[in-house]
Amino acid sequence: MQTYRLPKIPTVDQVQVESRAAAFTTRSIKKGAKKAALELAIRMMDLTTLEGMDTEGKVQMMCKKAMQPMIGRPCPSVAAVCVYPTLVGVAKRSLVGSDVKVAAVATAFPSGQSFLPIRLEEIRQTVAEGADEIDMVISRGAFLAGEYARIYDEVAASKEACGPAHLKVILETGELGTYDQVRKASQIAMDAGADFIKTSTGKVSEAATLPVTLVMFEAVRDFFFQTGKRIGIKPAGGIRKAKQAWQYLVMVKETLGDDWLTPDLFRLGASSLLNDVLMQLQRLETGNYQSSLYFSED
């Protein structure tokens, strides 16, 4: 097998990428545009619970919310639920009859610090349980040590282990240190066959940010120019407010264009975002903010 070599990719200027990302936050999203954005954000959401204390009951309730986020008004269902491998079965059963997908974090999430055969076997078993999507983590230690070929090989092997399931590759950008590294890791993951690249596990304090995600968008766009393949992106972690959600959508619209404004190519990984989006939707319709007590905590 030929050893992977990182292709030539542009460098990233920290100051400028941050100022560009900040510019997206000044877009004024009003009325119909806001409503459309909020509904789109729901359709793009990976509703997530990744706790040691997760139980069947917790996952069942979250799945009900995923299918029917709000009772009493037409409301789209979310894109997927995201759970640990052992809870894939219960999620799958809870979601029968709906379009909501089941995503599972596999590969010794969140650190990835286990033996490759074990990580690959985890993927295979999780897919066998019924997972539609696998969210894997890269070995950040190996990446930071410059072992790019190893990262490539592991992602490629994971992709193979996924079989029909979609593969999201978590870069854990909060541990990579620079935007240049984010761009490199994005390139390796895409070269190795990722269907999606994802920012974060949500277990590290610096999770998704607009500039980090912008760097990933630019990598995805250039990869599309070179190969014709459309790779999806999923910022995850730290997205709690509806306003943040539409800022990401603004960035999608103005960087990658209309083709990426779909749950097939863009997802928002979040555990608490949904209720804020629902609250904003209610406000658009009624003109008033309602108490958070009126929104179910599942």
Binding site: P10, V15, Q16, V17, R20, K31, D259
Partner: protein, 496 residues
């Protein structure tokens, strides 16, 4: 959604990405309900608004509707303004304790901050610039200039250690229409801080906010006659420049007019600073952070519709990355939102005047005729008003008019180079020398090129960054003298 004007589904002709209206932004116009202005203005002389004659209209370039009418000052009216400035200088302002002077300038800065929203809206209505720029760039900088120079007023002896400094007298200042309030601030703040009185003439297409500034001078209790503002066009400007009791002339505008002024005051005692045209080179090396460089190029040429004397209107790109850079540029150009300047989501507003639009059309036609390749955004333009599509020319050579002449519009000329020496030679091969940008991840190259470029302002891995503490001005036919920073005080002081 009613955003068709901005976001008609575009054809998928470029690189396969589609910037359409799958999710369109709803219109988000800034409300104009609370802005106040008169239908007719004369001049502001000796602390009072006075009647004038020969009124001309100032129109909103986005709607072609008349906003208000302004008088045109003749020689006699200019003389009144100069006399009032002289009296204020001799009687009050020139003798005032510097710390007292500073208080007035601080007060003006704060009043500008308090009225920033109204001023930003008026600036966009009268000049056509997007509200997001007048709100986020122009007005904060206007206030910052006053506050910065207020700080110097009582520290002038520390500004020039070992020297004795004193004010000059009466300054005559003529400013352009591209940043009406900001250019007024650049002129007024250092002049006042140094202890001079002023006669200022705003441009005839954008006089509105200068009249609002005059109101703020009254509100700040600025002694009568310290700031006088006369309206009018070329004749009024000439009357100021030629007035025998003007001690210093400061002009920002075209190189053509700058030369006329230079001739007009030759042989007099008058001091002169000129900030004139430019044809800024933005140089992208192959090791640049390409995506950020492209964003910088876009901001460098499309900011304020390209009505910027330091606009990066010539792009010099290394051949090895030219194809990629041009593709990214065209793509980015496609996502620019062109339209109503008062819409908060507008990136590129209206061209300032019919005359300027005609000039842009004429130069763009010359580019086509001379064989350059034109690329334009496919956006729809509003049916009324003066608008021009963001435009990039490729296959441009140094001999083309669009590579040599200042277009002062949203038009970028792209040229290529092979080595740093060639880039430098091309960048300097211009009668202008106001600004340049260099994009490279390699610090040593960036600094060596920056040191050899003959331009007053050189930006590294960024563009169009302004700060009151940073001097700005030109080489060659882009003028002389500096505005901003310590440098900006000097033209208004006698340094002994």
């Amino acid at each position: 959604m009613t955003t068709k004007t901005n976001e008609q589904a575009h054809s998928r002709d470029m690189a396969g990405l589609l910037f359409g209206d799958l999710w369109g932004y709803a219109p988000s116009p800034e409300s104009t309900d609370h802005v106040r202005y008169a239908q007719r203005y004369g001049h502001f002389i000796n602390g009072r608004f006075v009647e004038g004659k020969d009124h001309f209209p100032s129109i909103n370039p986005a709607t072609e509707e008349v906003i208000a009418e302004f008088a045109a000052a003749d020689e006699a009216e200019v003389d009144q303004a100069v006399q009032s400035a002289r009296a204020a200088y001799a009687g009050v302002w020139g003798k005032m304790k510097p710390a007292e002077r500073a208080k007035y300038i601080y007060r003006l800065g704060r009043l500008i901050q308090e009225n920033a929203r109204e001023l930003a809206i008026l600036e966009s209505m009268d000049g056509g610039k997007p509200i997001k720029e007048s709100r986020d760039v122009d007005l904060p900088l206007v206030a910052a200039h006053f506050l910065y120079y207020a700080g110097w007023a009582d520290k002038l002896h520390y500004a020039f250690p070992g020297a004795t400094v004193s004010s000059i007298g009466v300054a005559g200042q003529v400013i352009p229409w591209n940043f009406p309030l900001l250019m007024a601030a650049w002129k007024l703040a250092p002049a006042l801080a140094a202890g001079n009185s002023v006669v200022l003439k705003p441009a005839e297409t954008t006089p509105l906010t200068a009249m609002k500034l005059a109101e703020l001078c009254q509100e700040a209790d600025l002694p009568a006659g310290v700031v006088n503002i006369v309206n009018g066009a070329g004749r009024t400007g000439a009357a100021i420049v030629k007035h025998p009791d003007i001690d210093k002339v400061a002009f920002t505008g075209s190189t053509e007019v700058g030369k006329i002024i230079q001739r007009a005051i030759a042989g007099t005692r008058k001091r002169l600073t000129l900030e004139l045209g430019g044809k800024g080179a933005n140089i992208i090396f192959e090791d640049a952070p390409l995506d950020q460089a492209v964003e910088g190029i876009i901001q460098g040429i499309f900011f304020n519709q390209g009505h910027v004397c330091c606009a990066g209107s010539r792009l010099l790109v290394q051949e090895s990355v030219a194809k990629e850079v041009i593709q990214k540029l065209r793509l980015r150009m496609e996502s620019l939102r062109v339209g109503d300047p008062l819409d908060k989501n507008t990136d590129v507003g209206a061209i300032n005047s019919r005359a300027q639009l005609d000039k842009i059309h004429e130069l763009v036609q010359s580019g086509i005729d001379e064989g350059a390749h034109i690329h334009q955004s496919t956006c729809n333009l509003p049916s009324r008003g003066f608008f021009f599509r963001p435009t990039v020319f490729t296959e441009v050579s140094q001999s083309h008019r669009i590579a040599q002449e200042e277009i002062f519009g949203p038009v970028l000329s792209v040229l290529t180079f092979r080595t740093p020496d060639e880039a430098l030679k091309k960048a300097n091969n211009s009668p202008y020398g106001l600004s340049a940008g260099i994009w490279s991840d390699k610090g040593s190259k960036l600094f060596s090129v920056a040191g050899a470029i003959r331009a007053g302002v050189v930006w590294g891995n960024t563009y169009n960054q302004f700060d009151p503490a940073s001097p700005f001005g030109g080489y060659k036919e882009s003028g002389f003298g500096r505005e901003g920073g310590l440098h900006g005080l000097k033209p208004y002081l006698e340094v002994r």
